[in-house]
């Protein structure tokens, strides 16, 4: 809708699609053929009617009738062929786009999903691309017809009768001119109408969403009348806009029927004066409606086609790795997948080195992160440096907005640092990231737990589940590991979901680096205590980063990274950090309300 004027109905992105050029050429050929067949159809029918008018018998019109029928059938055959051709092309193009979009999602990772919104991205993958297919399938042929058919027919009409030719020739630019004059007006009206429909719909949705609040306030009954009144008021407004919006179609219709009437009347006069014979006159009369058909068809679903075109534009933009709005300061690093944004430098093997357990080490060197958005840039992290080696618990703490989650995202490789470097001694297959609200897939409990190791045996899965504290729950489920989870299946509480994520990390024994984002903050305090007690022993022998504002974790942490406004202000053990009387950590503790002596 927004870019309607900038690109027009044809989007150059189409040319990038597989088989596009061939399809476009074929479309042109089909439109030319159609125009020729329309001409044959009109001439044949006009001849047959003229013969009949002259009193000829049915036997005399066999030849022109056959021409008419052959052209009519031929035209339908061309339409059939073209539809099949475009169907194949659009299907292939859309599935290519779909594959590319999925590929890009997988590579670019959760930041990509976050940037576009998970639901919006999923709907682009399914519905958005379907609309693109529709656009390719239906709009392109109409566009080809619009360009070629009137052009050829008007030449023929000219040849048959120049007066009618002039009428048609005047009318088409008149329509176009009128559309341009009315265009800005109509576009405005259409946009207004669209906005109004949305507002009306939104108002209703807003009311429905607020229904529980209304009920609690005891106002739901009284509000019902309002729903009706508002809807009726919008009806009046909408009619007003529909009135102006459909004006353009009224005028187009008017031009068309006016042209037809004018042609008929002029033909009548010229027939009476003997300036033209009946046969060409009839042919012209048959051709004139055909002359207007393409523009009518095209304008009829213009809005649907805009929708498809806009989808194509936005999907093309999504596929372009350079077009990311927020992250990716370094274009060279982007688009190659989140896990390539951090460097993995396996240390040289020592002579007695055990390849199964390489040393764990994570280094941040002057790492900064800058989020870019339309409104400006925001410095999320500035010059963070640390060097962590060996199994231990590292707590990343700070007030909200201090950069905890950003740092964890850098460590996970979801985002590349704008400057500086993050480097791991091991590959991504050893890392496991558990967000604040772990995602549980629409799949069986077994598949969910064995997500990182799909080949794990039931014993391994059960063992991991047991260690994560899920044993009792699984034994209680009638279908055990086969229980379906996620949207369609059993719902899990926050604590249970976290345990499933833990079990997921435990099944794959290679995962010895855990990145945990606020693992317990949103849980109720009893569950928090329980889960923490269960997690602590599991962290033995692993390098764990926890980003949290729940300060009780600090007592168990080997290393604390204290962030303030995106900067690493203190690091060290709890004792070391709190040794100074005006330690920023104590200040933070007071601020978070954890300290109330």
């Amino acid at each position: 809708m927004l870019e309607a004027e900038s690109v027009g109905p044809f989007d150059k992105n189409i040319l990038q699609l597989p088989g596009a050029k061939r399809a476009l050429v074929a479309l042109m050929v089909c439109s030319l053929l159609t125009a020729a067949l329309i001409a044959g159809q009109a001439l044949g029918l006009a001849r047959a009617l003229t013969l009949l008018w002259n009193g000829a018998g049915v036997s005399a019109i066999v030849t022109p009738l056959l021409v008419f029928v052959a052209c009519y059938v031929g035209r339908q055959l061309v339409a059939l062929m073209r539809s099949r051709l475009m169907d194949t092309f659009s299907r292939r193009a859309s599935s290519t786009l779909r594959e590319q979009l999925l590929e890009r999602s997988f590579e670019a990772g959760p930041t990509f999903a976050h940037e576009h919104g998970s639901a919006a991205l999923a709907s682009s993958v399914v519905d958005g691309i379907d609309k693109v297919r529709n656009y390719l399938d239906l709009t392109l042929p109409k566009l080809a017809d619009l360009i070629l058919i009137p052009l050829l027919l008007v030449v023929l009409i000219f040849v048959l009768d120049w007066v009618s030719g002039i009428i048609c020739l005047i009318m088409l630019p008149a329509i176009v001119l009128f559309m341009i004059i009315l265009g800005s007006n109509a576009k405005e009206a259409a946009a207004k109408r669209h906005a109004q429909f949305n507002r009306m719909k939104n108002h209703f949705m807003d009311t429905l969403r607020g229904l529980p609040t209304l009920k609690v306030l005891g106002r739901s009954q009284a509000y019902g009348d309002r729903v009706f009144k508002v809807s009726e008021r919008f009806r009046e407004l909408s009619l007003e806009t529909i009135r102006t919006a459909t004006l353009s179609s009224l005028f187009m219709d008017l031009f068309r029927t006016f042209a037809l009437a004018a042609v008929a009347i002029m033909l009548g006069f010229r027939l009476m004066s003997g300036d033209i014979a009946l046969q060409p006159a009839l042919a012209v009369l048959i051709l004139v409606p055909e002359y207007f058909v393409p523009i009518r068809r095209f304008s009829m679903d213009f809005h649907a086609s805009l929708d498809g075109r806009n989808n194509l534009a936005s999907i093309t933009k999504m596929l372009d790795p350079q077009a990311g709005l927020s992250e990716e300061a370094d274009p060279a690093l982007s688009g190659r997948g989140p896990l390539t944004r951090i460097s993995f430098e396996p240390p040289p093997l020592r002579a007695d080195g055990d390849p199964a357990s390489p040393p764990l080490r994570c280094t941040a060197t002057d790492a900064s992160l800058e989020y870019r958005s339309a409104t400006g840039t925001r410095q999320a992290l500035t010059g963070v440096s640390f060097d962590v080696a060996g199994p231990q618990l590292v707590a990343i703490v700070g007030a909200s907005g201090a950069g905890k989650t950003s740092l964890l995202q850098l460590l996970a490789g979801f985002t590349a640092p704008s400057s500086g470097e993050i480097s791991w001694s091991v590959g991504p297959e050893r890392i496991c990231y558990i967000p604040q609200r772990p995602h549980i897939f629409n799949a069986s409990l077994r598949e969910n737990i064995a997500f990182y190791a799909p080949d794990a045996s039931d014993e391994q899965v059960l063992d991991a589940a047991e260690r994560a504290g899920l044993g009792a729950l699984i034994r209680q489920l009638p279908q055990g590991l086969d229980t379906l989870c996620g949207e369609g299946g059993r719902g899990f509480s926050g604590g249970e979901a976290h345990r499933i994520a833990l079990a997921r990390a435990l099944v794959d024994e290679r995962r010895c680096i855990w990145l945990l984002d606020e693992p317990t903050a949103h849980l109720d305090i009893q569950t928090e205590l329980e889960l923490k007690q269960q997690m602590l022993p599991l962290m033995e022998g692993r390098l764990v980063f926890i980003a949290t504002h729940r300060l009780h974790w600090l007592r168990d942490a080997d290393l604390i990274l204290l962030l303030e406004g995106g900067e690493l202000v203190q690091s060290g053990s709890l004792e070391a950090i709190t040794a100074t009387p005006d330690s920023p950590l104590l200040h933070l503790a007071a601020q978070l309300g954890g300290e109330r002596a």
Partner: protein, 626 residues
């Protein structure tokens, strides 16, 4: 196959209370719209027919020239200029009617949901379901504009055509009646039957594909770390390939159908041509329909050319008919909503259908058992505003007990915190307190009256601050007045100031009249909750329930808001459901629920000295150095 389709149609039609009733509302507008549509079609066909006649007649070079052809010339102009205006009026009228109907529909949906107490608790994804409902209503609008109206117009035109031809020749009229019957009835029907199974499958697959895509995109972090690239692609592409195959089959069948339809139309054109040739040609004696001005053979072109525009009325029918499958789903889903008009059907909101399928828990029936004890307690002059839960138990119909033998005394002006893991029964306890349900045993009373009997009076006694308090897309003042309809602007401002938003009003573009949800009113979570707090202040109830109102706020915002809430609500009975112990020292009573039972209960300072478990939790919550 076809039987199943018909059975579904019949079932939905019988249960329907969303489409049928509206045919009789605003009947005049409906008839006007249909009449205009029919007339527009007649004008379109007439324009071609009269033009054909005009040219044929003109070719004879009548002796008086223009005067002989005055009538057809005039008619051509009338039809040519009239048709666009008729179409324009038809569009306006039909939209007017459909929008009228939509208003009624919205009211009906609203009342349905308002009536259905269980809806919100049954809907795991209430937002999605509401989105579906809104879409359903759009579909219904389309159903009228794209299917119902054009079909009726086409059928009437079909009958009129047959009548017209019957005037000339009964056998030929019959032939055309049958021939067009194939176009206007058989083809649409076949289209529906052939494709409905495929379409249903494609729709199911599409929704499945969307669910999978959303699921996998939400869990993208796990996928990237799992490095199972091929599984990811396979999982998402497989259903889409199947959809593609399904759609390809539908498209192929549509192509064939359109082709056959065109051939049938060609056949009819040829029939008209032959009939007109036989009827009007070669037989100058045959009676011409209008006077003696011209030769009968002038009518050949009129009939043949006039027939072509009818394709515009007939051709879209099969494609429109196919759409009914999509509409049927919508109607089915809406049929599953509780009825508002028919009294008894509303009692069981769990009809078959999409809504019921998402149901998590059945609705309990409101018991009346507690009513008997009401008068006894009412007699013994209870304390004012005293909320009492005595040995209350509760189970959803046919389910395990959710609350067992819970007794809590909420003294007037006291502050109580309620904690417990999810599923402990906290929400159910709140529902009992608000009187949404009555306990299966024991009692929940406010001033001796069972809360379930307070009915519409409940909001005067008990206010609730939820985790998500909805702010409507209306003025700030209107939002606040939901708490007190007759609140003055001064009162509203005072409430906002008390809620800590005094500095906000001058910053808003139109002060209290600023419409929320529009540009410049992006409130933070904390501000939104403060507006809800102001609303509750205006509501001014003796009891206020705080249902995790701080759960989605960051800790420092939470603490500030909690301080404000406790300060401005001083003197009221406060019941706060929370998940951790922030501000617990400001409470008079702490209650821990687990598995529907009270596991810990007492004053916080008491528990801190006497209860080791509470001390441990407190230490965890305080975090450092304790």
């Amino acid at each position: 196959m076809s039987e199943r389709v018909f059975a579904r149609w019949r079932r939905i039609w019988a249960a329907d209370s969303w489409v049928k009733p509206f045919f009789s509302t605003y009947r005049k507008a409906l008839l006007a719209s249909l009449g205009l549509g029919i007339l527009a079609m007649i004008f379109a066909a007439g324009l071609m027919a009269v033009s054909g006649y005009l040219i044929s007649a003109a070719a004879e070079r009548p002796e008086h020239g223009v005067f002989d052809l005055f009538v057809p010339l005039a008619i051509v102009q009338i039809f040519g200029l009239g048709k666009p205006f008729l179409s324009y009026q038809e569009r306006l009228k039909s939209h007017d009617w459909v929008l009228h109907m939509t208003s009624q529909l919205r009211l009906k949906v609203y009342r349905s949901l308002d009536k259905d107490d269980g809806f919100w608790s049954r809907m795991r994804k209430a937002g999605d379901t509401l989105g579906l409902l809104a879409m359903d209503m759009d579909y219904l609008q389309d159903l009228y504009l794209r299917v119902v109206f054009p079909s009726i117009v086409a059928w009437v035109i079909w009958l009129l055509l047959s009548l017209l031809l019957g005037f000339f020749s009964l056998p030929f009229a019959l032939f055309m009646l049958l021939g067009s019957f194939v176009l206007v009835f058989v083809m649409p029907l076949v289209a529906v039957l052939v494709n409905s199974a495929r379409q249903l499958r494609a729709k199911q697959l599409a929704s499945q594909a969307y669910d999978t895509a959303l699921d996998d995109i939400s869990g993208l972090a796990d996928w990237t770390f799992s490095q199972r690239h091929d599984d990811f692609m396979q999982r998402n592409l497989a259903p889409m390939r199947e959809i593609d195959a399904c759609n390809a089959a539908i498209a192929a069948s549509n192509r064939r159908r359109d082709f056959v339809g065109q051939l049938i139309f060609l056949l009819l054109v040829a029939a008209v041509l032959f009939w007109a040739a036989a009827h009007f040609g070669q037989m100058p004696q045959a009676a011409a329909p209008s006077g003696d001005l011209s030769r009968p053979s002038d009518w050949i072109a009129a009939f043949v050319l006039g027939f072509f525009p009818l394709l515009d009325a007939f051709a879209p029918l099969p494609a429109a008919a196919i759409q009914t499958n999509a509409y049927l789903d919508s109607v089915e889903r809406m049929n599953a909503l509780p009825q508002v008009d028919g009294g008894d059907r509303g009692a069981s909101p769990l009809g078959a259908g999409a809504l019921a399928r998402i149901s998590l828990e059945p609705l309990p029936l409101r018991g009346t058992a507690a009513a008997t004890t009401c008068e006894d307690t009412a007699g013994t002059s209870p304390e004012r505003d005293s909320l009492c839960v005595e040995h209350a138990s509760f189970a959803y119909a046919g389910g395990d007990p959710v609350l067992q033998d819970v007794s809590i005394d909420f003294a007037p002006g006291s502050r109580t915190a309620i904690l417990g893991p999810s599923g402990a029964g906290k929400s159910t306890l709140l529902r009992l307190l608000r009187g949404d349900y009555s306990p299966t045993a024991g009692s929940v009373t406010l001033d001796g009256v069972p809360t379930s009997q307070l009915g519409d009076a409940t909001p005067r006694h008990i206010a609730v601050m939820q985790q998500h308090n909805h702010l409507f897309n209306q003025s700030l003042l209107a939002n606040l007045r939901l708490g007190k309809p007759d609140a003055t602007e001064q009162e509203a401002t005072a409430a906002l100031e008390a809620a800590g938003l005094g500095a906000l009003i001058p910053k808003l573009p139109a002060g209290l009249k600023t419409v929320l949800g529009e540009e410049g009113t992006n409130f933070s979570g904390g501000e939104g909750q403060r507006i809800a707090l102001a609303r509750i202040l205006l509501q001014d109830t003796p009891v206020v329930i705080l249902d995790e109102p701080f759960a989605s706020l960051d800790p420092s915002t939470e603490r500030e808001l909690l301080d404000t809430v406790l300060r401005v609500l001083a003197g009221k009975t406060i019941i706060m459901v929370t998940h951790h112990l922030m501000g617990i020292e400001q409470m008079d009573q702490v209650i821990f629920l687990d598995n529907g039972r009270i596991t810990m209960q007492g004053a916080p300072d008491q528990l801190a000295t006497s209860n080791a478990q509470f001390r441990e939790l407190l230490s965890l919550d305080r975090g450092l150095l304790l």
